[in-house]
Symmetry: C2
Subunit: 462 residues, 2 copies
Amino acid sequence: MNQEVFHNRDLLAATESGPADLAPVILARLREGDTASILSYLKGQHPADVANLLANLPSQDASRVLRLLPLEERADVFGYLSMDDQLEIGRALGRREFAKVVSEMSADERADLFNRLPQDQQETLLPALAQAEREDIRKLSSYPEGTAGAVMTSDYATLPPNITAREALEALRLAAPDKETIYNAYVVDAQRRLTGVVSLRDLILAKASAKVADIMDTNVIHARAEDSRADAARLIAKYDLIALPIINGGDALVGIVTQDDAMDVAEEEATKDFHKVGTVGTIATSLKEASIGLLYRKRITWLVVLVFFNIFSGAGLALFQDTIVAHVALVFFLPLLIAGGGNAGAQASTLMVRALATGDVRLADWGQMLARELVVAAALGLTMGLAVATIGVVRGGPEIALVVVATMVLVVITGSLIGMSLPFVLSRFKLDPASASAPLITSIADVAGVLIYLSIATFVLG
Amino acid sequence: MNQEVFHNRDLLAATESGPADLAPVILARLREGDTASILSYLKGQHPADVANLLANLPSQDASRVLRLLPLEERADVFGYLSMDDQLEIGRALGRREFAKVVSEMSADERADLFNRLPQDQQETLLPALAQAEREDIRKLSSYPEGTAGAVMTSDYATLPPNITAREALEALRLAAPDKETIYNAYVVDAQRRLTGVVSLRDLILAKASAKVADIMDTNVIHARAEDSRADAARLIAKYDLIALPIINGGDALVGIVTQDDAMDVAEEEATKDFHKVGTVGTIATSLKEASIGLLYRKRITWLVVLVFFNIFSGAGLALFQDTIVAHVALVFFLPLLIAGGGNAGAQASTLMVRALATGDVRLADWGQMLARELVVAAALGLTMGLAVATIGVVRGGPEIALVVVATMVLVVITGSLIGMSLPFVLSRFKLDPASASAPLITSIADVAGVLIYLSIATFVLG
């Protein structure tokens, strides 16, 4: 068997420690001037792995390794680098070399990078690019972040409707080197309006003399440039598309979003939601590389906001000072009862936030969800109430046990209904449902819990 | 412009209320026996949308609509149905019709469905399938759930190394109708061992007389059937692959995982993690369709476990009964202080759980992360302590203010370190880091918070 094939047999294990272990070896070779052995190593590697290696080198050395590669491969590798590494290594490359790499990058990656460059670097870079690329950057950069327009690429293949399958195949063969994908080609009219889509598979299977217009699928799944990138990714996942064509306000084809970009978008969106439900601001960079200052800023706002919610809980307790002093045993059940409502609420909000994000549940389902949640929460509250009833009797006597059980049922129902509803309320007001984070729900449920608990206690115990 | 193209212009808006609104219309036509108009409507629809419609019909009616379609389209539509709907509509179709549809399904979807059928239905279905399909199901069903083997399909295209590009293109053209993708073809030797991969794009660009062995890429990114499906999805995302070849213990090619399946896997894994950090068991079905009993079962276990954690908090309070009775003002700061530690801990665990899941952070990074978290947490704790200091002075006097600030700093650091470390500890013992959920961290931080608070209070206030 060919030895080379199974170089990456333990790829997952190798990348686990690979690039970090490899970096010193590459550095040493670089210092010795042994670029030949570095180059021969790089030749066998996937661009994603080379990018991984570069990210582990100081940027000056990374730029030297990058220069060893042929220009086209340089751009490939560059596209796999994180935005921060692109900026840093780009700076180390020098303006002329950087411009060369940028020219060779795919249109969407180039536009993304350009948007992140500081104004002065943009201005020094622009004149070094060809007219077509400048125009392309201008167009792709014009869509706001988070839209389909901002993640699409303009490297797509188009066909006129009136040519034959044989001519179309020949056209795609000529277009192939410059296009992100040729497996789907988009059929446009003279005004560039999208009239159909044809897959390379269909073209290969069709008779050579068949007209593209007769083979193409006219029911083209597409999105608009101003639609959200999350919606575009959802369409690609739902319809199992290789690429999704994007049209502008005049119905003209302006770009495509490919499946691999959609996967990245879906992962980034899931991470954003994950961070939000943990009350952390979105950390766009790698967590590993995030600075202490960035982490502090992304976490402190919500923590302080929550502190003020918790002050309400304290104020609630102060309101019932007399009851507490008269029955100090009530305090021992406080953590139990307010946590119970918070935990059930956190469960409910987590389920809803995710279901709303994946499109499993829609705003219109609110009523139905609320009714079901009421039944589930009552059952959960009763079970939890019974679980603590004995402790109530033992530690506080039958009267306190009654208070504890009644409170548990009520706080679990209250917490669950708040947790379940808040994502819908946010969604209703066009806010992000993921802001209904577990800690926020817990803090709101805490205030409700304190009031419910001590009201019942005051009523029952006098 | 062709009218039909923009039928789906407002696709996102239409699917929002579409299938639910459409179902009664289709039902009425079905009752009137007007199958012709239903069929003409279905013709223009994507199989995913037809599946969406069927899911909104009673299963008997859904099976009648399905029968209107040609067999191959029936299988396409069937593949887009949820597993539960496949089982229900399959039952309504009757054994013979069901077997026909199952035969036409793609190999991976067929094996998944088969695995979910009750024993007796499996036994009645098997004889109705052809030998090749039975064999295929047996092979694909032999890998445990959660592995790459369990999500792969056997509908892939292979080529021998010694034919020309022209011959390869002809071979792919013949293979196309039965294969999941022909955009990548896998080059295997006589023992079916994977020796290379060649893309359709490369074949089209190559000289007609070039040998496949000379065009193919021998450095094939691949996974093993027993690797986790999440790892397979990560490889596809990392290397932007159209499909990932899967080999068995003998290095023979046994299947491929396609990019659209990887997208589904990534979404399911993210949902599983989401549910776990909200202390909910994995709900494999749609949340909208989940029964009250299922929701109760998936939520009650953790809620009761957490109740017992919270009992420890209560016991901690009881331990310091004398201090509390002497200084009842301490109680008012209790929610504030224990929530502070829990919230900071929930943030830290959320960040780590997600970073470990996406591979951004690895087990080896624990030490570095711990050191950084210590600094961040100290800064967060100080800020939060200062935020509540005034209230401490106003509501409890300077001594209590001192206790409150000191406690806040300590509980935030403690909570953060617990929250940050638990995902690593779980990962270290080969458990799922996502089990370090926000409510679990909050409950552990509560116990620590009570002990720290009242220890400091007892020390300072005597």
